[in-house]
Each structure stands twice: as structure tokens, then as C-alpha cells.
């Protein structure tokens, strides 16, 4: 923890230094009007007017806090740099991805935008659309990130985006239901299986799942693969230094099948969205829910969910499997959205400067104001957070490994095969061997 505090301090010092140089030694940026006046004076000699376009996916309606932080950061940057105007375009997730695609095909990307890691980002990098940001990371910024997070956005040794979020996926559980049936937090997978069986025999859906969205089921498969084969087996199968027909990956699929056979999930999960699946947990009908830490506000601060329910929710780490290679501190998760700078931006340098500023400011505010765990280190002793956040952040500090979400790790085409296969596996329409074989073929074809 001590190591973390220093690096956080470092980042803060760096940020304040940056702010100072940007303001040209005038009044600090704290006071809006004062800052602007000072800048108006300093700005007379400075560069021409610059407009930066930024695209993101946090609309004010659904992501109020994120949206507010973005606006704060932008207005701060604008008052520090009066010659810069930042124009935002906001689209929801799905439409955002569509538009990014259309804009890329037309070589008209915004100067700054959001991307996802690895498989999502690679085609854009190969197409020379994203600018390398290693120069931005230099000078200490890299150290302020949790190690391993910026690497997820690296292709051939260069980093092409800076992450804003970091998530891991605990199993949330309903303490009231557990105690009603005399269940303990499972330490081993055998315990877990027993708990599932007890719950389903008592007419409670053991696990909430909305698998229409498919990545939700993928989380279960990924943990089983990790606990059986260790963190490297799946990674290697995807990066082609291994095979997807590895026995542990086949067995993981078989374990999913067993869970389905044992009625571990709520009814009709393959036709339900994640929102609908989650509702089974939130309404107390299902006992467990495996999901990213972006759900933490729902179990801590979200006032629209009854206090007594929030108090009932705890989390545990996915149990280890006897004889398996994966340890308890290995997580599925990884950085979520990150900021990219367009390679063809006419104001690339300014865009990079803004991205750096944004990442730093975001790291200071996101967890306290929006409940979003940033990819930059958080000093838990300095911030006032609900206990569950502190616990998760501590777990994050202890993590032995974080395996990036499979559909983000894989190339887009393979990810689609994976997601379809997941749904088929959960629907018992494909046997574990065929499941592995289809993955192997898709990966082979994609590599060759």
C-alpha cells in the first residue's frame, strides 16, 4: 500500500506541475473567472484557436456522474488553455461502436475518443488510425497506472490508448439467502457446487444470469478455464502459442454444462438480457451474480435500490477447483474503455496533451464521484469510500493475475464465434469437445 501512496503522490505532483506550466504562473485554475482573466492576459501571445473533437459514451441521463466529471475536466482544460475549445459528441455504447466504424471507414475519426483494449483496438492500429501514446506515458505517467493496464492497449510494443476504467469480476451473493439455507461463502468449487444444489432444491435460483448478451456467460466459462488450467492456458490458446483443445479448456466447458444440468441458473437465461438477469438478483430471487465491479454502486450508494437489499450483498472470489492450476487471487476483468488520439488528427499534439490531462484528473475523481475504479492507482487511505469498494481495491492490490475478458482479448471475428459458442454451450446445443474445436478453428483461420 505504501508503494501505491507514493506513486499517487507523484501523479498528483505531476498534475499540479502541469497545471502550473499551463497557466503560465498566473492565478491557479481553482477560481473559474479568475483563471479565465489570467489566461486572457497570458493567451494573447499564445497559439491560434484549436477545436478538439471528443467522442464518448457517457450520456448525462444514464451516466450522470461520469458525464459531470468529463464536463468538469473539459471546462478546467479550456480555462487553462483558452485557445482550445473541446466539442463533445455522446452516443450510447452500441451506437458509439457503429459510428466509430463508419468514421474509421471514412477516415474521419474524432481527435480524441474511446476504445476498448486488445482485440477491439488492433484493427484500428493496423489501419494506422490511432496514434501511439508512448510519449504521453513517458515522464512518470505510466507509473501512475496499475501495472498491466496500459499493456492491454499495446500492439507491437507501442501503447495506443490510455485506460480509464479497471474492473474485476467478483461473485456477488445475497447474505440473507445464504444464511437462510445455512450456507457459507464457498472456499472450494466443491463447496460452491453443494451450495448451488442446496439452493436449487429449495426453489431458489442459485445464479442470476442474462445470457442474451453472451459476454455474461463468458465470464463463467473464463473462471472455470482459469481455475482448471491456470491463467496461461486460455491466454495461450488465444495468442496461438497454445491450443483451445487443451483438456482443461474442454473440461471447463463440461463444467458449464454440469452447472446448466444442475439448474444453477435462473430460467430462460439465454433469452434474457443482462439487465433482466441482474433483476433476478436484485429482487432477491437469485442468490449469486457474477459481474464486473461497475455494479458496485448498485450494492453501495445507489439510492434507488432499497438500503436493506444493499446491506445484504457481499462478494466472494471465484472458488478454486481441487487439482486445478488457477489460484484464488486470479481474476477475470481488465481495463474497460480507454482514450485514443486519432493518428490523422490535425491537432494531434494538443489532443495528446488533453488526453494526459484527462487521465490524471479522471484518476483523482472517478472513484469518489462516480464509483468508477480508474486504471490509475487509488490510494485507499486517502479517499472516503464505502467498505465494499475498499475491499475490492484491496483485492485488486493482491491480485496475482487479471485475465482480460475473452471477447476483448480475441479479434472481433473470433470474439463473435466465442460469444455464439458460449450461448450454444449454455443452451446445451454444443458438446464441450465441439465447443473447443470451433474455437480452435476460428482462431486458426484468423491467425492464418
Amino acid at each position: 500500500m505504501a508503494k501505491k501512496s507514493t506513486s499517487v503522490l507523484g501523479a498528483a505532483a505531476l498534475a499540479s506541475m502541469l497545471a502550473l506550466t499551463a497557466c503560465g504562473g498566473g492565478n491557479s485554475a481553482g477560481n473559474d473567472a479568475g483563471g479565465e482573466a489570467a489566461n486572457a492576459g497570458a493567451g494573447s501571445g499564445s497559439a491560434e484557436k484549436i477545436t478538439l473533437k471528443m467522442m464518448h459514451l457517457w450520456p448525462a441521463g444514464s451516466s450522470k456522474q461520469q458525464n459531470m466529471i468529463v464536463n468538469d475536466i473539459i471546462s478546467q482544460y479550456q480555462s487553462d488553455n483558452p485557445n482550445v475549445t473541446i466539442k463533445q459528441e455522446i452516443l450510447e455504447n452500441e451506437q458509439y461502436k457503429n459510428k466509430l466504424k463508419v468514421l474509421s471507414a471514412s477516415n474521419d475519426l474524432p481527435d480524441v475518443g474511446m476504445t476498448w483494449a486488445a482485440g477491439f483496438l488492433t484493427p484500428y492500429v493496423k489501419g494506422d488510425l490511432f496514434a501511439p501514446l508512448d510519449d504521453v506515458l513517458g515522464g512518470g505517467l505510466k507509473d501512475s497506472f496499475v501495472s498491466g493496464t496500459t499493456e492491454a492497449y499495446a500492439v507491437d510494443g507501442k501503447t495506443y490508448a490510455l485506460p480509464l476504467e479497471l474492473n474485476i469480476t467478483p461473485v456477488y451473493y445475497n447474505k440473507a439467502i445464504f444464511s437462510k439455507y445455512g450456507l457459507e461463502v464457498p472456499q472450494t468449487y466443491a463447496d460452491f457446487q453443494k451450495a448451488v444444489d442446496t439452493l436449487q432444491q429449495n426453489g431458489v435460483a442459485p445464479i442470476a444470469l442474462g445470457n442474451k448478451d453472451r459476454w455474461t456467460g463468458s465470464l463463467w466459462y473464463m473462471y472455470l478455464a482459469d481455475r482448471l488450467g491456470g491463467p496461461e492456458t486460455l491466454k495461450k490458446a488465444i495468442d496461438r502459442s497454445g491450443s483451445f483443445e487443451d483438456p482443461s479448456l474442454v473440461q471447463a466447458a463440461d463444467e458449464v454444462r454440469k452447472l446448466v444440468d444442475g439448474n444453477a441458473f435462473n430460467k430462460g437465461f439465454n433469452g434474457l438480457s443482462n439487465d433482466e438477469g441482474k433483476a433476478e438478483f436484485l429482487s432477491g430471487k437469485a442468490a449469486m451474480y457474477l459481474m464486473g465491479t461497475w455494479e458496485l454502486p448498485n450494492f453501495t450508494t445507489n439510492e434507488s435500490i432499497p438500503q436493506e437489499f444493499r446491506d445484504q450483498v457481499g462478494f466472494f472470489k471465484f472458488p478454486t477447483i481441487e487439482g486445478g492450476k488457477g489460484g484464488i487471487d486470479s481474476w477475470v476483468g481488465g481495463p474497460g474503455v480507454g482514450l485514443f488520439v486519432s493518428e490523422n488528427s490535425k491537432v494531434k499534439e494538443e489532443a495528446k496533451k488533453f488526453v494526459k490531462f484527462f487521465v490524471e484528473k479522471w484518476g483523482e475523481q472517478s472513484v469518489t464521484k462516480a464509483g468508477v475504479i480508474p486504471a490509475t492507482k487509488v490510494d485507499t487511505s486517502k479517499v472516503d469510500l464505502p467498505q465494499m469498494y475498499i475491499d475490492i481495491l484491496n483485492e485488486l492490490g493482491k491480485a496475482s493475475n487479471i485475465t482480460l475478458f475473452a471477447d476483448v482479448q480475441m479479434s472481433p471475428a473470433v470474439a463473435q464465434v466465442h460469444l455464439n459458442m458460449i450461448q450454444a454451450l449454455f443452451g446445451k446445443e454444443v458438446a464441450p469437445e465441439a465447443f473447443a474445436k470451433q474455437h480452435e478453428e476460428a482462431l486458426k483461420q484468423d491467425a492464418g
Binding site: L57, S62, L91, E92, Q95, K101, D275, S304
Partner: protein
């Protein structure tokens, strides 16, 4: 015609008459009423939906009433985002595109059914193929064209796209009707030395009032609910339409469904009113048409 009538007359035996028996009539009305209830249900459901929060929507029965109506959904929708601006944009894009589509389609249909020229078949074919292309394959080419023309992030891109993509459908609907319009009146008009414009605007167009109302309704609904083009071609918030109001409440990992319901309710009202008004026009148009016919 007379042959058919004769045939109808021949079969109009006693059996045919019994169709209007009171039992059957009651059954018919019961069925009609039942369907009406089923068709109105979605609107009532949406109204109730818009007064719940996401929690209630997903965890309670869809038929249950909200524990306490969440009027704040409407407040949220009204205060967050420029709903006034979106509303204004929706109205004027819709009106402009509908007017352009219906006018241009009427002109083409008139030329195709009443005027004398070669190439009618290929031209009609060209329009008909227009309904066959899936919209998602057009997005990238269209965006690039609008970009080159400097029309991205400009209302014209939306109005032009709406017009072009609704023209084929509108022409097809109009064609069926133009072919059944009596020709005597216009033939007489030609004899009287009327110009083409006069025949079209003063004789034919009024005769098609009922089908025009129909195509206006259809176009209006399509344009009002459209969002793929708006999202793709428009980037400034001030130029977007009501449909983005829905997206405003869709988050990265989950959505605020209560607010989405309120947005849906707010955006359906104007079109419901317009629809009721225009829908009377269909009957009035018919009467006007039959007087002339």
C-alpha cells in the same frame, strides 16, 4: 364490371343473406372489441411503464401498477438534455422530409401512370429496387458522400436521406391507387386544354387525398422514430432528434428504463395527435374522391 356484378347477383341467394344474423353480429363485435383492447393495451402499458423505476420494471410483474408513480422520470427527461431542441428538430425534419417525399412521389406516380413516354418500366424498376437494400449496407457509402458534399452534421443530410429512402415505398403505395383512379375527369380536362400542372395539382392530387393522408402517416411514423441516420450523419447535440433522448438514458453497462419509458411517452404524443387528425382525412378524402369519381 357488369359481368362481375351479374355473377355476384347470381350467387346472392338466401344463404348469403344469413351472414347478418344477430348472433354472428354479436360475435363480430365482441371480436372487434377484443382486438381493440389488445391494440390499445401497449399504450396503457407504456404509460404505466414510464411511471416506474428500473427496479420495478424488471423485478415486478409487467401488469402491476407502480408503488408510487415516478413522475420524476418525466422531470428527469425534461431537464436533462435539450429535449425542446430535439423536439423542434424532430418536427421540422419530419415535416420537411414528409412533404418532399409525398410531393415528389406523387409527381413520379402521375408521370408513370398518366403521361406517355418510353422507359416507364425501367424507371419504375429503378424505384422499386430502392426498397430492397438493407439500410446498414448504405451507412458507410452515404456518410462518405455526405462528407464530400460537406453535409455531415447538417440537417439536409437527414432530410435528403429520409426522402430518398422513403420515396420508393411511397411511390409503390401511390401506384396501386393511381391505377384505380377514374380517368374520365382528366381526359375531359385535357380536351378543355388544361396544362399538365393544372391537371395534376387541381384535379388528380385532390382526388388522391385519402391515399396521400395514408402515405403521410406512414412517412411521418418512419421519420419520427428513425435514429440510425441521425446518429451516423449528425454529431452536434443541437441538431439531433428526440430519438437520441432515449439513448441519453442507455448507459455503458445498464440503462435507466423508467426515463426511457418517459421519453417514449413524450415522443409518442405528438405523433398520436397528428395521426388522429390525419386519419380523419382518409375518410374525408374518400368522400371528395367519390364525388368526382
Amino acid at each position: 364490371m357488369s359481368q362481375r356484378l351479374a355473377a355476384a347477383r347470381a350467387e346472392a341467394g338466401p344463404a348469403g343473406r344469413s351472414a347478418a344474423s344477430p348472433v354472428l353480429k354479436t360475435l363480430l363485435y365482441a371480436a372487434l372489441a377484443l382486438i381493440a383492447v389488445a391494440q390499445v393495451f401497449p399504450l396503457l402499458w407504456l404509460a404505466v411503464f414510464s411511471l416506474k423505476d428500473t427496479q420495478e420494471i424488471f423485478t415486478k410483474s409487467p401488469l402491476s401498477l407502480p408503488a408510487s408513480p415516478k413522475w420524476e422520470n418525466y422531470e428527469k427527461v425534461w431537464t436533462e438534455g435539450n429535449i425542446g431542441q430535439y423536439f423542434f428538430n424532430s418536427v421540422w425534419y419530419t415535416v420537411a422530409a414528409v412533404a418532399a417525399t409525398v410531393l415528389l412521389a406523387s409527381l413520379v406516380t402521375f408521370a408513370l401512370t398518366r403521361m406517355k413516354w418510353g422507359w416507364k418500366k425501367p424507371v419504375l424498376g429503378l424505384f422499386m429496387v430502392g426498397i430492397m437494400i438493407p439500410i446498414h449496407s448504405t451507412l458507410i457509402p452515404l456518410f462518405q458522400m455526405f462528407m464530400k458534399a460537406g453535409l455531415t452534421d447538417h440537417p439536409l443530410s437527414i432530410i435528403l436521406a429520409y426522402t430518398a429512402f422513403n420515396l420508393p415505398l411511397t411511390i409503390m403505395i401511390l401506384l396501386g391507387f393511381y391505377e384505380t383512379l377514374p380517368r374520365e375527369v382528366e381526359e375531359a380536362a385535357v380536351m378543355d386544354g388544361c396544362s399538365v400542372n393544372r391537371i395534376f395539382f387541381q384535379i388528380v392530387l385532390p382526388m388522391t387525398a385519402s391515399v396521400l393522408a395514408t402515405t403521410v402517416i406512414i412517412n411521418m411514423i418512419y421519420n419520427w422514430n428513425e435514429f440510425v441516420f441521425v446518429n451516423t450523419f449528425i454529431s452536434s447535440d443541437t441538431l439531433k432528434t428526440l430519438t437520441v433522448g432515449i439513448q441519453n438514458f442507455i448507459g455503458q453497462y445498464s440503462a435507466d428504463w423508467g426515463a426511457i419509458g418517459a421519453t417514449l411517452m413524450i415522443s409518442i404524443l405528438p405523433i398520436l395527435i397528428a395521426f388522429f387528425a390525419l386519419s380523419n382525412q382518409i375518410v374525408e378524402g374518400m368522400t371528395a374522391g367519390s364525388v368526382k369519381g
